[in-house]
Amino acid sequence: MSTPMVGWKDLPMAAVPFLSAREYPTGEWAVFQPKIDESKCVKCGLCWMYCPDSVYRWDGEGVPVPDLDHCKGCGICATECPTKAIEMVRI
């Protein structure tokens, strides 16, 4: 973490996050990551809907784009994709 560490006196109380969740790269431990074949994607949004970590964002063309900093590589999107457009690849 690049932010300087603060002591208990300066920490916000009540165990609320000190940083935004976006600043914690929780995808670091992933072994597999999704790779999307745009030619097969029908933009149905099931990957976006099923992702437990809200990893998917939409690009301008309507094709979902995974945020790999927060993807844990569970593969639910690949299983749910009706056109098999998502492949889980080892990183």
Partner: protein, 412 residues
């Protein structure tokens, strides 16, 4: 004591559980989530009657377990509601993980714990093993002596919890208080309502997320925050130290709320954390919690009439532990007996004993401390056994003896 704001009160015949239910009814509580368990059931029965008769504007959530009861109360409190729940024994044990979560997220939930023995074997009667087990979870613990005090403590608990930003456990002895009818002075609804007020939400700064703007510390769609997320070796330690400091900081808050309550009700529990009885010139003292201490005071009076200099101290607030006050009060006494209504298996005595003795270790005059474990599973403690303990202490004063842990009322 200041009495100019004293209001006229109604005398009602209530048992301890009903007294708590009345306090909840009058305290502008928004949400009650509870699961019935003996001897607490009457509390939630009465509250559900109040709700369903339309006597009070409150959301009553019927859940499927105590784990859910506290989870729902916690969630409601995070959303800004004033929340209450009640439990006993195994129910409290089932709430365990949420006890810690409620305290670490600084959520001011108030819970009545009607003290009951923990299984196995199953026993529905009173001892303190349930709330003593929860002593390290970060909840403020106030022990009531009778139904009147259970009523008063519950009202004060809402103020204490919200000012200290910590959950409060108000305990009352199962059956001895919870099911025994007593005369209880009940304050008028609007007086209690004004005393507790409407719950105020504190504001905090989260500079990395919301900049310099202060945001309300609650679940709020306008300023979303999550409570209790991952916090590993980077910040967990700091959060726990913060919580411990909050516990220490609650000591003057508890005193202040008691003083203000005494002004309207005329009932003063000075000096709040522990109440000494005839200790000024006492040779030996028995220190304990809850309803037992009213019998102990009777025995003190009897022994005083026989010329024996004995005294009693009732500990009201066990968490935060008033170590300084204990040290000050006991430093002039040579022999102290502790009444422990629970065991810490394999330890050097019961929980109250261990804390009192460790508080006394830093005092210059170290009194000899004996532990009397009594009343497990509702076993009676008749005055003759208390007399026996006092007489033993008086003898031990002349000639200290071992062992330090004794049982009162157990068959050999």
């Amino acid at each position: 004591m200041v009495v100019q704001k004293l209001v006229s009160q109604t005398m009602m015949a209530l048992n301890g559980d009903e007294a708590v239910a009345w306090a909840v009814k009058q305290s502008n509580v928004d949400v009650v989530a509870a699961y019935p368990i003996t001897p607490q059931t009457i509390i939630v029965e009465r509250i559900s009657e109040f709700v369903h008769n339309g006597e009070v504007d409150m959301e009553f959530i019927r859940v499927e377990s105590e784990h859910s009861a506290l989870s729902a109360s916690w969630g409601a409190a995070l959303a800004g509601a004033r929340a209450f729940t009640a439990t006993a024994a195994n129910g409290l044990a089932l709430m365990w993980e949420i006890l810690y979560i409620t305290a670490s997220t600084r959520t001011p939930v108030v819970m009545a714990v009607v003290n009951r023995a923990l299984s196995a074997p199953i026993n529905i009667h009173n001892d303190h093993s349930d709330s003593m087990g929860a002593r390290d979870s970060g909840w403020i613990q106030i022990y009531s002596e009778d139904a009147q005090e259970a009523y008063d403590n519950t009202i004060m608990a809402f103020r204490i919890a919200e000012e200290a930003m910590l959950p409060v456990m108000v305990t009352l002895d199962g059956f001895t208080i919870s099911h025994t009818l007593q005369n209880v002075s009940v304050l008028p609804d609007e007086v209690v309502s004004n005393f507790v007020g409407i719950r105020k939400i504190p504001r905090i700064k989260l500079p990395h997320i919301y900049g310099e703007k202060e945001i309300p510390l609650m679940l709020n769609p306008k300023y979303p925050i999550s409570f209790g997320p991952l916090d590993l070796f980077d910040y967990y330690f700091e959060h726990k130290v913060q919580q411990n400091e909050a516990m220490k900081a609650s000591i003057p808050i508890i005193e202040k709320v008691h003083r203000e309550f005494a002004e309207i009700s005329g009932r003063s529990y000075e000096p709040v954390h522990m109440i000494p009885y005839k200790t000024e010139d006492a040779d030996v003292v028995l220190l304990g919690l809850s309803s037992t201490m009213s019998v102990v005071r009777k025995v003190v009076d009897e022994l005083r009439s026989e010329g024996k200099k004995v005294g009693a101290i009732r500990l009201r607030v066990f968490r935060p532990f008033p170590a300084d006050m204990i040290r000050k009060e006991l430093s002039k006494i040579s022999t102290v007996g502790i009444l422990d209504r629970s065991l810490s298996f394999g330890a050097e005595g019961g929980p109250v004993f261990m804390e009192v003795r460790s508080a006394l270790y830093s005092s210059s005059s170290k009194p000899t401390v004996y532990d009397y474990v009594y009343g497990l599973g509702g076993r009676d403690l008749p005055p003759k056994l208390i007399k026996k303990a006092f007489n033993e202490l008086l003898e031990a004063r002349e000639e200290p003896e071992k062992p330090v842990i004794k049982y009162l009322g157990v068959r050999e």
